[in-house]
């Protein structure tokens, strides 16, 4: 799948979701998320299926949503995941967090707790030391948004 196809599919899917819920006017748009993704990849094509994202399908409280990420990678000096980027399309800012890893990480596994302002998609991107980009995403339905306001 080319990056263009993937991104438009992403934007389209997210657009559909946003159309169905009341959206805070300050929320990022799928276009903002796509821009954040393009900033990370430099417009390069991404491969899917290499990132396992553990996020609840339904988050009752958007203030604290557990997120675990595992990227397939040998994590050797020659081939390791150097950066992991998390982007959400239903938050006031699309960017959520960026992790920097090294071969000394041993595994490309991180976990944190994030805020989600509404129902939308969370996209996780990874950059390898060999110049590859991975991307996978998961939709999360948020009952009570976590951005105040």
């Amino acid at each position: 799948m080319s990056s263009l196809t993937r991104r438009s599919a992403l934007a389209f899917g997210a657009g559909l979701t946003l159309g169905l819920v009341a959206v805070d006017e300050s929320a990022a748009t799928p276009a903002d998320a796509a821009a954040e993704i393009a900033k990370f990849t430099g417009g390069k094509a991404t491969e899917s299926g290499e990132i396992a994202i553990d996020l609840p399908e339904i988050a009752e409280n958007g203030n604290t949503v557990p997120l675990s990420i595992r990227v397939n990678s040998p994590m050797t000096a020659d081939d390791y995941v150097s950066e992991i980027r998390v982007v959400g399309d239903a938050n006031p800012n699309a960017g959520i967090v960026k992790f920097h890893l090294t071969p000394a990480s041993g595994r490309a596994e991180v976990a944190t707790r994030i805020r989600l302002g509404g129902t939308g998609n969370v996209t996780v991107l990874a950059k390898t030391s060999t110049g590859k980009f991975f991307a996978d995403r998961q939709a999360v339905k948020v009952t009570v948004g976590g951005c105040g306001g």
Binding site: N93, V97, G106, T112, C147
Partner: protein, 107 residues
């Protein structure tokens, strides 16, 4: 940020083990998107960075945005080849840096 950061780092490991580290600091992570009772925006104040080094070398860094929950929690792994000290630094938007250290014995 009066509370001491909470760390979970194994106290010992075998050479070449991949260990898991868990960290948490108390912080409201004020997003900048909320308003007070008078309708005035509450200014953003978050922990914007966490850096972990082992024996002086960076092994993990997170660039943090307001979408990380209050009391920011992070979990990551490190492959240890020698005994040493993990040093952690959390940077607040207001310039305060909170630090913590923990040693590990590697056999």
């Amino acid at each position: 940020m009066a509370d001491k950061p909470r760390l979970r780092v194994p106290s010992e490991a075998k050479k070449g083990d991949i260990i898991q580290i868990k960290t948490l600091v108390s912080h409201p992570m004020e997003t900048g998107f909320r308003k007070d009772e008078a309708g005035k925006p509450i200014p953003r104040e978050i922990i914007n960075s966490l850096v972990c080094t082992f024996n002086g070398r960076e092994v993990f860094r997170a660039d943090i945005e307001p979408a990380i929950s209050a009391n920011p929690y992070f979990e990551f792994t490190v492959k240890v080849e020698e005994s040493g000290t993990f040093a952690f630094a959390w940077v607040d938007d207001n310039g305060t840096v909170t630090t913590a250290e923990q040693g590990i014995a590697v056999s």
